[in-house]
Each structure stands twice: as structure tokens, then as C-alpha cells.
Amino acid sequence: MAKQRVVVVGGGLAGLAATMKLAEFGIPVELLSLVPVKRSHSVCAQGGINAVNHVTRALGDSEYKHFDDTVYGGAFLQHQPPVKEMCDWGERICDLMDRIGVMFNRTPEGHRDLRRFGGTLHKRTAFAGATTGQQLLYALDEQVRRWTAEGTVTLYEPWEFLGPVIDDRGYCRGVVAQDLHSMEMRAFRADAVVLATGGCGAVFGKSTNSILCTGAAGTRAFKAGARYANPEFIQVHPTAIPGADKDRLMSESARGEGGRVWVPRKPGDTRNPRDIPASERWYFLEERYPQYGNLVPRDIATREIFDVCVNLGLSVVQGAYCVYLDVTELPPTSLKKLGGIIEIYEKFQGVDPRVEPMRIFPSVHYTMGGLWCDYHKNDRTGGLTQASPRNHMTNIRGLFAIGEADYQYHGANRLGANSLLSCIFSGLLVAPGIDTWLHNLPAGSAADLPASLFDTAAAEHKTQENRLRNSRGPENPYTLHRELGQTMTASCTVVRYNRTIEQTLAKIDELNHRYQHLELSDDSQWTNQSLSFARALGDMLVLAQVIARSALLRDESRGSHFKPDCLIPPPKSDDPDEIHTEARRWCEAFRRQNDQWLKTTIATYRPGGTTLSYEAVDTSLIPPRPRTYGLVGAEVIEQMWRTMQQEQDKPSARAHDAK
């Protein structure tokens, strides 16, 4: 049997972690990337990577608490075993990254320094200045270069994934891809394919994502039969700075180091923020959430900013959601740790955040949803069975999805600094499972298969490309993309109403129709960027429709999916007995909401239109509970929930109350 090999698509943290681990197993890897791998979008991550550590343990922290913070932060939408396993591995992963040379900030004794991040009360986040993603990515890039020099890994940059090759038994046997300089198209045979292709911010036009984050690769797998999960869960980061070309992230670490979010108490206050005294500033996150303060999870921060700006009219920029993020009072040591992001603000806004508060706006940031993938639960530990090929395998045998491209770890909302962890974790986890897969492959090696399977697949993509090249009409792909971004941002970001989502679906239909009448302004056979863009636009239209339809159908508010029309009315009576009754009603409504909606949305592609279905979620380790984060005024809900839990455990107690 010829040597088996693996194709990894995407060279970010997840793809590189998988590649280096596969190479360590001696498995040849072909790594395809749209850009030289150290330019992957992971490079933009700023704040840090989470893990329980010796400091937090001494203060009562544990991997279980990190697990709880993560599923609570995700509104319990994640399957719990993979999350538990990830949290259990956190410290070992940070140790590994440290060992390969990541320049983490240090304590005087030389250990990794730590900062606090959103959605937790513990300092779990290791960081390298304010450019942690960059240092992690470069360290993995260096390791993969070592394997490339040695011959186990071959890089294909810049190459674009066009689709998987699937044999007549439904096994993935490779990919079709294109060299973005020569435009050569060919098939790559593989015995396993790993998609580590990131998120889809470009579907929303402007976001904190890089230009290449179109979600096209995941969509191409989706169109080939891979199920997509929780597409409607899109994280809007509360603090970014808008620009003409993108929104630039202002890391949560600014708040982790002590930065404070505020607005002037007086609506329309036009004074320079430096001239507004503390008594006239409203630090609304600190006031509303005394425990978590400025470090409430992102969906909550974004919604509070929305409420303050839209409902209370306190935005500091008319017609936008804009508030102040103030680091002017931070000590020099903290400011130094934020060097990278302070630099970004200065370079793009021309203002020094050390002297004047930053103006920040929420922006699309992260894709919790992604390709559906499996996991192999370990019933003894409650986590995962290592080295199982079921971990991260999509419903297409031999096709795996990891990193932001999967849906596995973050549920309805991701905690800051958990993505760097989940990306590296999933890459390291998938490799031993693939090793097992290769040893047990029922149909031999892809290298031995007849050429016709691969030639046919490549020819189909060539035909599709020619159709795009020969398309004639008045439409311009860049204009269509701009319109797509505008409609998706208007209806599917911070706040969602069914009537506006329906307008967006109608608009997507219109854009799809106009897409058939595209004409490319570039007919070159060499380095044709508009061809690649126009092709990705077609995929973005498919994905946008899946996102919008899933959002339309999910009639509840959960994590980042916020529908004001579907909120359970909070208890507000002044009468103490009445408020208890209201709280009980709230908790019962919460239970009913979970019964109906605590499910994974599953999208299955059909040429006539996607079908949506729902799958149960494994919440067997930590039962769902109301997600209040210590909101002032919500204590009565927490008390009532505890009471109702006790009643459940002791049915006789409830009967006694009722007498």
C-alpha cells in the first residue's frame, strides 16, 4: 500500500497545531493556505490564552470552574464533554507553547504572567503583550518550518481549497485546490482532510476579521454534504474601532488590565471626554454588574452598549453605537502590556489612548458556529477519548473540521481568550485520531485509487470556473458584496427582529439572482484575484442565507443571538411576594425555553434550499441555569432558581410550601 497522507487546509493556529502533531507521528502532510501561513488570521488575536494555573489554583480555581465558566458563558449550548477535555488540557497546552518559545510576559520568577479576561473571576489568561495570537502563531509556524525542512510537510501557498473529493462510498479521499498565482487547478489525494479554515466575518462586510475570512471553504464542504451547525451564532465584540476597510479590534485585555467603559451621564454631551468629571460619567457595566464589571462576557457587554446607546440615547457619536473605553488612568506597567493595541489605536485614529479615552463600537468578530463535527465521549472522565477518529470528524468520513471552522467549544457565546485555546487544542486533539483513522482505513490508501475519481472532481471545478469567467451582465461582485455586508449587519448582528431578517432573506434572494449576471473585470489567466473573489462571493451568499434563516427560526434569546421580541420579561414588582411569583414564572419560562431551544441548529445543504433541523445537546455534566452574571436586580431570579432546584431534589418540600 502506498504511503498515506493528510491534507490540512488552513495554516492558522488550529491547522499548524494539527500539522506539527501529524508530522511528529511521521505522517506526510500537505498544508494548503491562501497566504503564507504566518499571515493567517490567527495573527490578529490580541489578548491571550486561557488556562487554570498555579496562581488561580491557590485561589480556589480548578479546571472544572473553567469548564463551568465556558459553558455558562456559552449559555449551555455546547456539548459538554469536549469543553471539559479542552479545559483539562489548558495548562499543558500553555506549557507546550511556552516550551516551543512563545514570548509570554513573565513574572519576576520567570513564570507566565496572567491577566483577567471576560466571563470569569479568575486570572487565567497568559499573554504576550497585546499580540498573543501573533506570538503563538509564529511559534507554531517555526515548528512547521522545521518539519517542512525535514520533508514531512509540504506547503502550498497561496493555494485555495475548492472542495473535497468524495468517493462512491462517501469517504473523503482528497481535495481539489487552485494555485492563486498560476490559476492551476488540481486534485490532492489524501487519506484524511482537515479543514482549519476559520470564520466568516466577510459575510458581514466589515468585521474585525481579515480579508480572507469569507467562510467560503467551510461552505464548499457544506455544499458537498458536510452539515453546518449553529450558523446563527455570530459574536459581536463590544470594543472595536470602525474604519473604511475594516473594524479594528481593541482587545478585551484593555479591560482586563483595568480599562473602564463609560458614557457621559448627560445625553448629547459634546465635551471632550477628558473634561468630563468622574461624577458625570456613567460606568454602566460596573454599576449593573458589580461582580464582573467591565469583564462581563462579550454578548452582554455588546447588548448593554446597544441599550445605553439606542434605548437611552447616550452614544458619544450620533447615530452609532459608540461608548468610551478609558485606559487613561492605568499605571505605566499595565499600559506597557497593552502596547500592541495602543499602537493600533494611535496609528489608525491619530489619538493617544493614554491621554484621551478611546471611542469604541461593537463589531462582528467571531463565528461560534461552523461545520458540524463529532466527538467521542469518555464516560469515565466525562471528557473525551483520546486518539479517537470520531473527535472532530464531520459527517463526511475522513473529513475533519477544527478551530474556528468547527462549532464545538463555544456554544452561544465565546469567552475571550478561549479561542486561542480551542484552536490549538482541537489541532493537537485531531492528529492522534487521524493516526488511528489511517491505520484502520477500510479502503486502503488514496494514492492507490483510480485517477478518474480525482480527474472528474477537478474537471467539475474547472467547468464551474469557466461558467464564472464567461458570465456576462451588468453586475459587479464588489458591489454585491458590499450590499450583502450591509444587509447582514443590519439584521443579524447585535439585535435581531424577525421582520428585518425577512427583509435580509429577500435581499439575499435578489443578490443571488444578480449574481447570475456578474461580469468579471479581469479575464486574466494569471493571479486573477477578482475570479477568486467572485467565486467566494457565491459561497458567502449561500452561507448568509443559512445564517439568516437559522436566526429567523430560533425564536428565543440565547448568548449572542438576541431577539428583544423573545425575551422572558424580567421580574420588576416592588411588592416582595409579587416579585417572588414573577421570579418563579421567569424560571419556569426559562425551563420551557431550554426544553424547546437548548438544541444545536443543524443545516443540511439541498440545491433547492437548505433544510434546518435540531439536535439535542449533552448538558449531563453541568445542568443549565439562568445566565445573570450578578446583574443588579437579578438576585431574585438566582434565589428562586436555587429554591426550585431544591424542590426538584426534594418533592415533599414543595408540597409543604403549597399548604
Partner: protein, 253 residues
Amino acid sequence: MAERRVKLKIRRQNGPGQASYWQDFDIPYEAQMNVISCLQRIAEIGRTARGEKVAPVAWECSCLEEVCGACTMIINGRVRQSCTALVDRLTKEEGEVIRLEPMTKFPVVRDLIVDRSRMFADLTKVKAWNPVDGYYDLGHPAPVSPEEQEIGYPLSRCMTCGCCLEACPQVSEPSGFIGPAAINQVALHNTHPTSKAIASQRLEVLMGPGGLSSCGNAQNCVKVCPKEIPLTESIARTGRAITTYACRKFFDR
């Protein structure tokens, strides 16, 4: 009042080895525009200033916030990242027309895209990686002091953008000089407590042809590095290390 416009002059080239030619563009101004958004607008409009239909200008970019190193080009004669080249500042400080050209030290692929693969090949040459024992769990790593981190972190921000090679007068075909970026990676790895295990192998490479002795001390590199990496310090420190190593090697015979 006339709508404000932005004028660009771009040196284009259809493919490797082909003749280059200039094209003029004239696009509507938008607040906070940078060179990237100008190129995006040009792609959408698809016409030159004279109204001639043309293919979009090809260029590389990704992060748009100066951490990935993709969008290097020569703007008004100076090599820099195009994402941080803000139109307001350029037109105020450097003239009404913005001139864009590809870097000259790398072969042109198309328009503003050049082939920088030699930079990555150089990282392989100098073994810019930590020769760890593997990725199994080997427990807590060796401590790294805050001083070591404060030296190492700035060096670790190199995004292989190519600005320093473009600006360096010693980087050319005949000299074969490896350039500041790779030497800086040697400086980084040779100070890391475990990566320095192969320090001498890296120094040997820099003692060969096109190595560190080709540095002419022009100090252009530090002036253009977008991450303000202390490149000349890295080069000086590595130069001293080579001298020490060469002497030790001589006396060890």
C-alpha cells in the same frame, strides 16, 4: 462644493518578467481611507481616471491592522505597509497624488504583488525554530526571566513584511546578503534558554556567503521597520556572538 477625490498613480505589471506601466486612478474620498480601501474602491469601479475599463489592481493584504506583513509596497517612494498608510496624512504631508509601486528587491508576480518566498527560505537556512524534543506533555518548561522576555518579545514581532530588505542597500542579487530579518531571528532564538542549544549552527550559517559580514551599517532597516524592531542591535549582538564563537572555534582546534 466639488466632491473630494483621491488621485493615485500605480505602477502595474501583468506578469513576471513583463514590462511595467503606470495607470492613473481617481476615486471618491471616504473618511478614514487608507491605501487598502483605495485599492478596494478601484477594484469596484474598474476604470482608470480617463474612464478606461481595466482589471483591478492586484495586491496582497490580509489583516489590515499591521500585524500580518502582507500589504508591503512602495508608497510615494517609501516602503511601508499600505494598511497604515492613511490617505488624509499622505495627501497632507506628501502631495496630492499617491504613488504606489511594488517592492524592487523581490520578483513581481502581478501589479503590486511580489514573491517573498526567499524570506521564508532564509528562515529555514538559519534554523529559526526551537529544536524541542516533541509535543508530548513534558511538564513545566524552563523559566524565562522578564529581562529575557523584554529583549525577545520585540524581536518576535517580525512579520516577514520585507520592508527591511527593500530598504537595505546591501540586499541585492550580486551580494546575496541574507538581510536584517533573518539575522534578527537568529538573535531571538539565540537568547531563548532552550532554543540557543543550536546557536552555533545558526551562527555558522551567518558566517557563510551572504552572511552577517555583508551588513554595511547603513541603518536603513530600523528606519523602515513597521514594528520598530531594534534590528541594528540584533545585528550587532549577533555579530559579537560570531566573533566570540569564531575565536573559541579557532582555539578549540
